[in-house]
Each structure stands twice: as C-alpha cells, then as structure tokens.
Symmetry: C2
Subunit: 406 residues, 2 copies
Amino acid sequence: MKIAVLGGDGFVGWPTALHLSARDHEIHIVDNLSRRWIDTELGVQSLTPMDSIQERTRIWHAETGRRIHFHLIDLAKDYDVLKNWLAEERPDAVVHFAEQRAAPYSMKTDRHKNYTVNNNVNATHNLLNAMVEIGLDAHLVHLGTMGVYGYSSVGAAIPEGYLPVGVETLSGETASQEILYPANPGSIYHMTKCLDQLVFQFYARNDGVRITDLHQGIVWGTHTDETRRHEQLVNRFDYDGDYGTVLNRFLIQAAIGHPLTVHGTGGQTRAFIHIQDSVRCVELALANPPEAGDRVKIFNQMTETHRVRDLAEMIAEMTGTKIAYLPNPRKEAAENDLVVRNEQFRALGLDPITLEQGLMSEVVDVARKYAYRIDRSRVPAVSAWTKEIAKTVERDPEGKRLKSVG
Amino acid sequence: MKIAVLGGDGFVGWPTALHLSARDHEIHIVDNLSRRWIDTELGVQSLTPMDSIQERTRIWHAETGRRIHFHLIDLAKDYDVLKNWLAEERPDAVVHFAEQRAAPYSMKTDRHKNYTVNNNVNATHNLLNAMVEIGLDAHLVHLGTMGVYGYSSVGAAIPEGYLPVGVETLSGETASQEILYPANPGSIYHMTKCLDQLVFQFYARNDGVRITDLHQGIVWGTHTDETRRHEQLVNRFDYDGDYGTVLNRFLIQAAIGHPLTVHGTGGQTRAFIHIQDSVRCVELALANPPEAGDRVKIFNQMTETHRVRDLAEMIAEMTGTKIAYLPNPRKEAAENDLVVRNEQFRALGLDPITLEQGLMSEVVDVARKYAYRIDRSRVPAVSAWTKEIAKTVERDPEGKRLKSVG
Ligand SMILES: NC(=O)c1ccc[n+]([C@@H]2O[C@H](COP(=O)([O-])OP(=O)(O)OC[C@H]3O[C@@H](n4cnc5c(N)ncnc54)[C@H](O)[C@@H]3O)[C@@H](O)[C@H]2O)c1
Ligand SMILES: NC(=O)c1ccc[n+]([C@@H]2O[C@H](COP(=O)([O-])OP(=O)(O)OC[C@H]3O[C@@H](n4cnc5c(N)ncnc54)[C@H](O)[C@@H]3O)[C@@H](O)[C@H]2O)c1
C-alpha cells in the first residue's frame, strides 16, 4: 500500500512509519515540523538525541535500502498544498497523527488554547475536505485519545466508542440504540479530539469516507524493533512538564534521584500502551478498514490501566526513589476507576507488552543511559487548568518543584 | 444591563438589538459585516432595502433618542482586538449571533466548508477564551439550532438539550443519567453548531462560564414592533438559494407566480418561530441566567413544527400558486416526524405568534410590497450536499429551476 503518515516526525508517527516501511509499504511522511519548533519555544529537547527527519530517513535507507519520503506541509494552514499533494500521490491509506497533543501545553495561555483549537480542528477538517473534494477513497486512520471519554466513569465499562443506551419513546417504551460515547474532555487538547469525532461522524455519514479512530491510551516506551536498528533511528523521549507523560516523567525523576512527583492523591487511573504495540495496532487497523457507508470504526488502543500512585510505587520500588505528593494543577476528579473494553485489537491478534515486563528496560536502556542529558529545571509541571488553580499552585523561583501557597 | 450583541447587523441580531435597546439596555453591536460581503460575493440582496449599520443606528437614535453603539470586529480573526474590547467594556451579557448560518452556503465548495468551520469555531472559541482570560463573568447567550439534534428521530420527543438515558453498569444494573443529546448534524454549518456545544460544555465545566444555548428553529417573519417604527429600520429578508429559508422562498415564489419548489417529497418536518418571538426569547433567556458552575442551560427556541409540503399547501391556498416537486439537493431523510419539547420558554411566559395568524401579513406587507425588487434567477437552491447528488441535480443554464438529469 501507499500510505501517507501525517505527523510522521513525531513520537508515535516516526516508529509507525518505520514499522510500515519495514513491511513493504510505500511511506510518505507529511509533517510541518511544528513539534520541533515547540521544543524551541519551550527550550526543551528530547532526552534521546533526535536527528533531523531528512537525516533519519537517509539512515533508514542506508540500513534497509528502503525509502521513506518526506513532505513539509502544514495540514492546518496549507489547504491547497495538501489537496494538490493528495491529488498527485493518491495514497491508499492516510494515518493522521498531525495534531498538537499535549494537554498542559493546550492550557498554558490563551494563545496556546487558540493554537491548539486552530491547529487540530483545521488539520482534521482540511484533510477530510480535501479527500472529498478530489474524490480520494483512502482509508483514514486517526489517532484519538482515551481522554474523549473523560475519566468520571458512569460505573460502566468504557466501550469501544459507542455506548448502548435505552431511551424512552413517545409510546412510553424503552428503545435501545448505540450512541457515540458522550464526550467529556478534560482539557482544550482533549476537547479538540472530541471535535474531531464529530467531524469524522459527519464525513462518514455525508460522504461515505472510510474512517478508523483509535482512542489511544498513554503511550510509554521508546524503542521498537525498527528504531533499535541504528543509534540515530532512536525515537524521541519527552519528559518536560508539557509533553512528558506521567510515566516518562517518573522514569527521569528516578534516573536523577528526584522524588517522583504525584499530583493530588495520585488516585487518577489511566490507560497505557507500549509504543511497539501502538505501531502494531495501527498496522492492524490499516489491514481491517470499514466499508464505505459504515459508521466510524472506533478501537480502544490501550492494553492496561493503572492508578498514578501505583505506577509511582512500582517505579519507586524498582529504583529506590522517594515519592512526593504535590497539589494538582489540573481540574479533574481526585480518584477514578477505569474499566476499558479492548476486545477488538485482542481479537485481531494483539499480544501486549506489559509495564511489568518492559519498564525496567526503559529505566536502564533509556533513562539511565541518557541521564547526562537531563535538564532538571524541565521536570515540574507548569500549566494550571484554571485561574483559580493557578493562584494556589505556583512554581518556585528555581523551577525545581511545585509547592502549595496560601 | 450592558449587552454586547455579536452579529447584531444580521437578520436576528438587528431586531434583537432594537428590542433590548427599547427596554433600556445599553447595546453594543459587534459585527465584521461579513454577511454584507457574502451578499456581494453571491450577487444577492435582501428583498427589503437594507441601510448600512451606521445609518440604521442613526435613525434609531433619531426616532427614540437611544444610542446603539457599533464596533467593527471579526470575532474569528481578531482575537486580541476582541479581548481588549471586552476588557474595556466589560458587558454584563453577551448575545452571540456571529456565525455563518446558511447550510447550503456551507456546502457550496471546499472553500465554503473551510470558511464556515473556521469562522464559526474560532468565533465561539475566541469569545470564551477571551472571557476566561480577562476574568469576565458575563452571561453568554448563544444562538444554536434545532439542527444539532438531526431530524432522524429515535421515536422520542426532542428534549431541551439533554436526553435521559439508561446505561448498564458493571454490576448489571441500569443507571439513569442525562446526556447532551447525541449530535446528528446534516450539513457543515450544523456540524459547527455541534462543535460549539462541546466548546460550551468544556468552558462551563472547566471555568464556570455561565452559558445559555438557544436551539432555534427556522425563523420566519420580517417585522418586530421596533423594526416597524421607521421604513429604514426594516429587517433583512433573504430569499436566495443559500440564505433564504424554506418559508421565505415560498413567499417570494408566490409573490411572483413561480411554482413553490418542494425538494423531494416535502416530507421533511421542521421547527419554526416568528422573529418577534425569537427576540422575546433572547430577552427571557437574558433574564434567567444559569449559575456559575451549572451545566449549559439549553432551551428549544421554536413554537411549532410543520412538514414542508404542508407549508407549501398552506401558502398555495392563500395565494393560488402551484407546487412543483423537484429532486432534493440535500442528503437527508425523505420523511421525518418531529416532536419537540419547549416547556421552558412557555413557562417563562412566551405566547407565540402562529404561522396561521402571521403568514398572510408576510405575503401582503413584505413579499408583494417588495416584489418589484425580486431577482428571479436567485430563487432556485444551488448547493448539492455530495458529489453524487451534484451529478443528478443540476441547474439549467437560465438558473430558473432545478431539474433531474440522467
Ligand atoms: N503520545 C501519547 O501518549 C499519545 C496518547 C494518545 C493519543 N496520542 C495521539 O497520537 C498522535 C501522535 O502523538 P505523538 O505523541 O506522536 O505527538 P508528537 O507531538 O510527537 O507528534 C505529532 C506530529 O505532528 C506534527 N504536526 C502537528 N500539527 C501539524 C500540522 N498542522 N501539520 C503537519 N504536521 C503537524 C508535529 O510536527 C509532530 O511531528 C497525536 O494525535 C496524539 O494526540 C498520543
Ligand atoms: N435565521 C434563522 O432562521 C436561524 C435559525 C436557527 C439559528 N439561527 C442562528 O442565529 C444566529 C443569527 O442568524 P441570522 O439569521 O441573524 O444570520 P445572519 O447571517 O443574518 O447574521 C449573522 C451576523 O453575524 C455576523 N458575523 C458572522 N461571522 C462573524 C465574525 N466572525 N465576526 C463578527 N461578526 C460575524 C455577520 O456579518 C452577520 O451580520 C446564527 O448563529 C444562526 O446560526 C438562525
């Protein structure tokens, strides 16, 4: 297949591009390199030294003889360029990773809120609009998030996208139907993924676009079989307060002997998946497209759930680090349960890597190996979710840890 | 109260501004006048001669001694200007009409799809973002549409925004809860109103913004008590294929002796409200704001429902015009029932004007009076919903009527 990987310079996009290239697909990465600009804006960098996309694709070619093509296009701003490019290349499938994906970044300031809404809604809408305009019948696989469900459970297991409900009809009977799970986003970033869902629903119904939406958990781990093939094919590893997800941040804190910073009670339960499983899931989704006219096919792309404080304890035990409980900068429930259905990928053969198995190698192969590159000032979380929360949570002048004031 | 009327140069915004000004509120219209530009783009004009906003507010002042202030701001593009303006004026309430509101226009071309998504999502999001940023605790009243519900009913009455459903819990019991009614938009325009809903939900939950969303039916009628006060205060009246709603288009067809063009079987049932009731509803909504921390308050702003072919028959009978059944350019159910709850406005004292009572005066006072201004070539509908439909529905060279080809 000819596959366009939009956002293929990113953390999940890059190993996906390699994984699919290794399996004989013709890969075209489309990216505006905005994440590299955001690294510059924030003054942060990947823990792992990350080469330019041009250099990485050159090395992949030298190693494997396979070409990955790179195209610099901004999906959100360059509608006409995108449309013309799609019309020329006519890929069989499009994998869409190209969005601003950090919740804390999306909550930083009003400018970041606007940027996230603009970038993500326009990237997704431009893509669909262009596909319909040029009559491109490609399978669109989008990376969504478990966060669209929200985490304040109704005491029911989270289904794969669609919730069966009973509704009272005019005649007083109860009719059953399946509805898109009611959206409950916890940040502007998560909100944009909920907006995406409605855009997908519309284009699937009105124009018969074949769409798969992957509601992904938090991705952990660094290496896949392909990124391991050469030092310079290594994946990015974010640990800063904006882009570093909870597990990465614990790993780094452990590596430098900083206490593991748990927000609030650490009672938040989240869903996780290893990067190797994530790329495998995208491959499985590509191999199992919906039919034209079908509703959007939704998978929960996650393999296990954990409470944040249990994760902290797991890592504390492995590494002998302490845990520090700090005020929560986010507006969210202190404690939540999370039961998630993920039968579809299991049925397609996914055999997941567990945190239990894989975590120690992350500590040794990644966090300790690159510990010399860690910038300690980048470890604390810095975005408060509301003006009220901002007043009670504040960074100290050295930026080393959060503290509670007043 | 000091009230900002965003989109106050438009069809519903203008009489709302007058109605509220007449009731001693301090009114500030904010508008980018984009609708006047769209008139120019399409080469259409209001049936009623419409003066500039500056002239209209001057006449209002001459007639009543009251000032309506006008500010030229693009909500979608001028975030900083909007924010600074709000910070300076600090209105007590904001009524938000400022969106691209025609479904056919939103489906015209890929450019119009992008414009509608960009304009509407950014207008709404910029507004909320700015309010939170400057800590403005104003009541936001937004004009939404009945179209967010979709018209393929589940056999249940359409509630006011929130649907009670039963969900099976982990323990096998059924838990009841109220959810935002599952969105089912029928066009890009309607989709943007569904996106708006999620943005409102987020800002109400995260930041405690007080928001009322009015799910309005199709507005008919031209005059309110205030627009009648002077010839040059007259409201706009759209009858073209993009902005003219079904009833206006029938009135014009009747006035020029053109057959009433019904799409498909005319079995589509829609909700209606008179312009005088619409402005009254906005006043009632302003007087009954939600509390900070409340969920978004949703009213169904409509007073009666009719099948399109019944409307055509009603007008055909009044005026002796024929009816012509033409292929439907929209992708929608041929026939639908519609039962809508609207108890909230009735409980607040709304006593509606019915089509039965008011329609004849529209025929005489408006359609016939201004019939000399009608541009016959603007009467047919021109946007097809999909590429497939476009192939079977096509305008004839003179643009006089739709015909079926192939
Ligand atoms: N990393 C996770 O834990 C995780 C979890 C759930 C969902 N996801 C989703 O998976 C996708 C990829 O995540 P990631 O961690 O690889 O993010 P990332 O930031 O590393 O990669 C995103 C890539 O998209 C590009 N991009 C952004 N906007 C663009 C635009 N307008 N035009 C062109 N390119 C653009 C960026 O330059 C970047 O290379 C995202 O959509 C994200 O929401 C990620
Ligand atoms: N007319 C109806 O039958 C009807 C029915 C249901 C809902 N509504 C809703 O009511 C609202 C008003 O409808 P209307 O019929 O008065 O429409 P309209 O087009 O006559 O008025 C909209 C006004 O908003 C302005 N505007 C648009 N985008 C703007 C922006 N970015 N910045 C500043 N101003 C902007 C336009 O210039 C125009 O004056 C709309 O939101 C519409 O969706 C209308």
